[in-house]
């Protein structure tokens, strides 16, 4: 009893144990804002795809080196390794966006590998040492280093970037290619489980649809099965721009084919598809100008299929609906979203193309069924700038917009602060984003998009999340 008051007065001290700096859950609705996470990794075997106009690149590996350990995520790897297509190894890079976001890594442009930056104030993990701004470790021989590294004459683990084995030490090292060029177009995500369908163009004018799955919540995907799940017939050159939706136990895959938008069905989670003999949607409206493509599909609660598509080569987004998922009608002779509807006098101007829709059914907290629509549009966000005394107009670019509908996709209200995703290079120049696809992953929404630089050169698929990590 004598000690009880003392204990009581000491009790408050227990509270000073502290708490993490930031609490509070961010609530995702899939609308905005989106945070860019950099390049998406799509693996084909042990290599991943890079920009279509890039060279195959890899890393010089000692011929006697043991293969890296198998992994599902970076957490399974050592300090300088990343999980690259299921194997722990240092990762090559030639741009900062390729090393992921939020993991503390950056591209070391001296060695072209993703590394952990360090300084006098910011040390390295474990036994690693800071060497010219990036962490490495001291070594006596190659086996002291991590996968993809060799021991340099200065007793530091280093990596050597290569295109061919001839660039490595002859007879001792081989160039192990990590990244091959790949022309990937119009990704389509499906959740539960998280699957990716994407058009892969082996040559400039050919296209086929491949399926990939993710084991790390969408940070990377691996093509599975190895063969395309849908390929053009001998008489066709290209099938592409996939859109996918689940209707009961069946996967519906919509895609561009020569005469319109085709459909294929799968009952094995997208591993194989049975293709319809004829397109389900053709260009038969005046505004479509003979062109329909880039479909985006959503299935409502009553199993009605909403098929949104780009018409007229960027003239707008049209809607076709189907009660049975097989026969489609167009409820309107006009697009449901066009450039006028989404233009904003301040934030998004001079829009001259809109299309590439991605759609999802959405339920708000009061149970109202709605449709979320993401799309790409080509317009201007910035103002003209004065550079060296000359007025330079802004550069139009592709960005991602968002709209929502509460009447089964018949009409859409644009988000008041479109575009919802736009990467800014500087005040005037913007990187480009197109062909969005969105899926919920955990308590966030994941967006895959087709990226390009301000000049329009494709940079491959990128990832963004809402809300920010």
């Amino acid at each position: 009893m004598r000690r009880a008051p003392l204990l009581l007065f000491m009790l408050p001290a227990c509270g000073f144990l502290g708490e993490s700096d930031f609490a509070g859950a961010r609530q995702a609705a899939g609308s905005a804002p989106w945070t860019n996470l950099g390049a998406a990794t799509l693996c084909q075997g042990s290599t991943f795809f890079g920009p279509p106009d890039s060279d195959p690149v890899g890393i010089c590996i000692p011929q006697s080196a043991r293969p890296g350990r198998l992994c599902l995520s970076d957490a399974a790897c050592r300090s300088r390794e990343r999980c690259v297509c299921g194997t722990c190894t240092v990762q090559i890079c030639d741009g900062p966006a390729q090393c992921g976001s939020g993991n503390g890594r950056d591209c070391n442009f001296r060695t072209n590998v993703c590394g952990l930056p360090c300084s006098a104030q910011q040390g390295c993990p474990g036994q690693d040492v800071c060497d010219r701004g990036f962490c490495t470790s001291a070594c006596l021989q190659d086996r002291d280093c991590q996968t993809g590294e060799t021991c340099s004459p200065t007793h530091r683990c280093i990596s050597a970037f290569c295109h061919t084995t001839s660039e490595c030490i002859g007879g001792i090292q081989d160039c192990q290619i990590q990244r091959n060029p790949g022309d990937l177009r119009e990704p389509a995500l499906l959740d539960d489980p998280l699957l990716l369908f994407v058009e892969l163009r082996p040559t400039v004018s050919t296209g086929q649809i491949v399926r990939a799955q993710s084991g790390d919540g969408g940070r990377s995907f691996s093509i599975d099965p190895a063969a395309p799940v849908l390929a053009p017939t001998a008489a066709e050159r290209r099938l592409g721009a996939p859109a996918v939706a689940r209707r009961g136990t069946t996967l519906l895959l919509f895609f561009e084919e020569p005469d319109g938008i085709g459909r294929a069905l799968s009952s094995d989670n997208g591993r194989t598809f049975q293709r319809d003999p004829a397109p389900v949607v053709r260009a038969d409206q005046a505004w479509e100008a003979g062109l329909v493509g880039s479909p985006g599909a959503a299935v409502l609660g009553d199993q009605t299929v909403l098929l949104f598509y780009e018409g007229g080569g960027g003239a707008g987004i049209g809607l076709a609906t189907s009660q049975d998922g097989a026969s489609f009608i167009k409820p309107s002779a006009r697009p449901v979203v066009d450039a006028i509807a989404i233009s904003d006098p301040t934030l998004w101007r001079q829009i001259d193309r809109v299309g590439q829709p991605a759609a999802r059914r959405a339920l708000d907290p009061v149970g109202r069924e709605g449709v979320s629509l993401w799309f790409a549009a080509h317009g201007v966000e910035s103002a003209a700038t004065l550079e060296s005394g000359m007025l330079v107009p802004p550069v139009a670019n592709n960005s991602i917009g968002y709209a929502a509908s509460l009447d089964r996709g018949r009409t859409f209200a644009p988000f008041p602060f479109n575009p919802v995703f736009d990467r800014i290079e500087n005040f005037r120049q913007h990187d480009q984003e197109s062909t969005p696809t969105v899926a919920p992953v955990g308590d966030r929404f994941l967006m895959l998009y087709g990226g390009a630089d301000p000049q329009g050169h494709a940079t491959g698929l990128g990832i963004a999340v809402n809300p920010a990590p």
Partner: protein, 424 residues
């Protein structure tokens, strides 16, 4: 220093935080257990918060130390909102001194110190839902020094509630090359000037078993004024000024009226009505301005946001205490309370997504008063405990624009408090 050529006002909205942790949970365990219906019923360590005049009614000098913890079981869209637990130390004092047969002069103090933060400011985009009153506001320091004077049946009190701004000349740094040398300079000038709001209190004791009280608290907030200036001293470089103006921890004017009645020697009943002047609040969305001189001239972009439109509220509270002597030197008390706290936040049908709910608060508590602890303390010591359960009435914000996300908010709060009070 170059003159910035133009200003770019970045559209960047953040919802910020409102109110006072003691408004949400009360101060001492006795008051909390009685539903915080203490405007007329306070007479000791809680008086600097509940009614400054109450310190003059303390029978003897009192010092109390307490600790409280609140589990914030709140959800948005049926998902855990992960609002951090609110916990902290409270120190109260009421030091009366006789100045005549019917005159008492007293000094009071109410001090609350969260143990994680002195104050915390978190910002997220204004369109994302968050508990605007229950998120950050319960994590700030509160300091209320007061004075009181009793003349016969009338006691009056006055004091201030203290806080600070975050201001100063900001952060100024220069990087670049000068005279062939690389230059990096930084200057930091951030001040926390104090702010104060008045506290006034009145207690009238027309009969020995009846007390009527009124109290007033002025408006208080933390004004954030911070400028960050970057000089890039290289050819083609320029100046950038980032200017942030924000209002946080807005604590509205409060006018409380209360009555406390002792129908028997063992029982005290109390009731309060508190009026909160939320409608005067404006500035829920901070202003962020970026001035740029990078030898290019982007045009002015002005963001506009809807007004906060908070409305005034009236909170009703009631509580009771039953006392029983266990022994000549020991007394026990059981307490209960009930309160209804309406939300000042209007329906969120436009851009902002401020989550807040009407709340019912049910409280229970017990106390043990010891005349002395042999061998340890030869003075009276009171040990009090309280449990508050805040039930949030579910609320759904349905946006007019379907492109803006609607959201729902609900949940409950469980708050525990312990107070030890020594009399001298």
């Amino acid at each position: 220093m170059r003159i910035p050529l133009c200003a770019l006002c970045v559209l960047c909205g953040f919802s910020n935080v409102l109110a006072d942790p003691l408004d949400t949970f009360g101060f001492d365990a006795r008051g909390k257990a009685m539903g915080n219906a203490m405007t007329a019923g306070t007479s000791g360590i809680g008086s600097a918060f509940y009614n400054p005049a109450g310190a003059a009614l303390a029978p003897a000098p009192e010092i109390g130390l307490g600790y409280s913890y609140a589990a914030m079981l709140l959800s948005i869209n049926d998902r855990d909102a992960r609002v951090s637990s609110s916990r902290g130390l409270s120190l109260g004092a009421a030091l009366p001194s006789r100045c005549g047969s019917a005159c008492t002069f007293a000094v009071g103090l109410a001090f609350y110190l969260p143990d994680q933060f002195i104050a915390r400011i978190q910002t997220i985009p204004v369109s994302e839902p968050r508990f605007v009153l229950l998120d950050n506001d319960v994590d700030r320091i509160v300091i209320n020094p007061t004075l009181a004077l009793r003349l016969g049946p009338i006691a009056v009190g006055a004091g201030v509630t203290l806080f600070s701004d975050a201001a100063g000349n900001g952060i100024d740094f220069t990087v670049g090359g000068r005279g062939g040398m690389q230059v990096g300079e930084a200057k930091l000038d951030v001040a926390l000037p104090s702010r104060a709001a008045p506290l006034l209190g009145l207690l009238w004791t027309p009969r020995t078993d009846l007390r009527v009280g009124a109290s007033f608290r002025g408006q208080l907030d933390l004004r954030l004024r911070l400028d960050i200036i970057a000089h890039v001293d290289i050819p083609g470089g320029g100046d950038t000024v980032i200017s942030i103006r924000a209002l946080n921890f807005y604590t509205p004017r409060k006018l409380s009226l209360g009555v406390a009645w002792d129908p028997t020697d063992r029982i005290t009943l109390a009731a309060d009505a508190s009026y909160y002047n939320w409608a005067d609040f404006s500035g829920g969305v901070p202003d962020l301005r970026v001035l740029v001189d990078l030898q290019i001239a982007p045009a002015l972009l002005q963001g506009t946001f809807p007004a906060d439109r908070l409305h005034d509220t009236m909170t009703l509270r009631a509580g009771g205490e039953w006392r029983r002597a266990l022994a000549p030197d020991r007394m026990a008390a059981l307490r209960a309370g009930l309160a209804y706290e309406p939300s000042p936040v209007p329906d969120q049908v436009l851009l902002t997504s401020l989550a807040d709910n009407d709340r019912f608060v049910v409280s229970l508590g017990a106390g043990l008063q010891l005349a002395r602890i042999a061998g340890f303390l030869d003075k009276p010591l009171a040990l009090d405990a309280a449990l508050e359960w805040h039930a949030l009435i579910g609320r759904t914000a349905q946006k007019l624009d379907p492109a803006l996300p609607s959201f729902s908010s609900a949940g409950s709060i469980v708050h525990l408090a312990l107070t030890a009070t020594a009399s001298f």
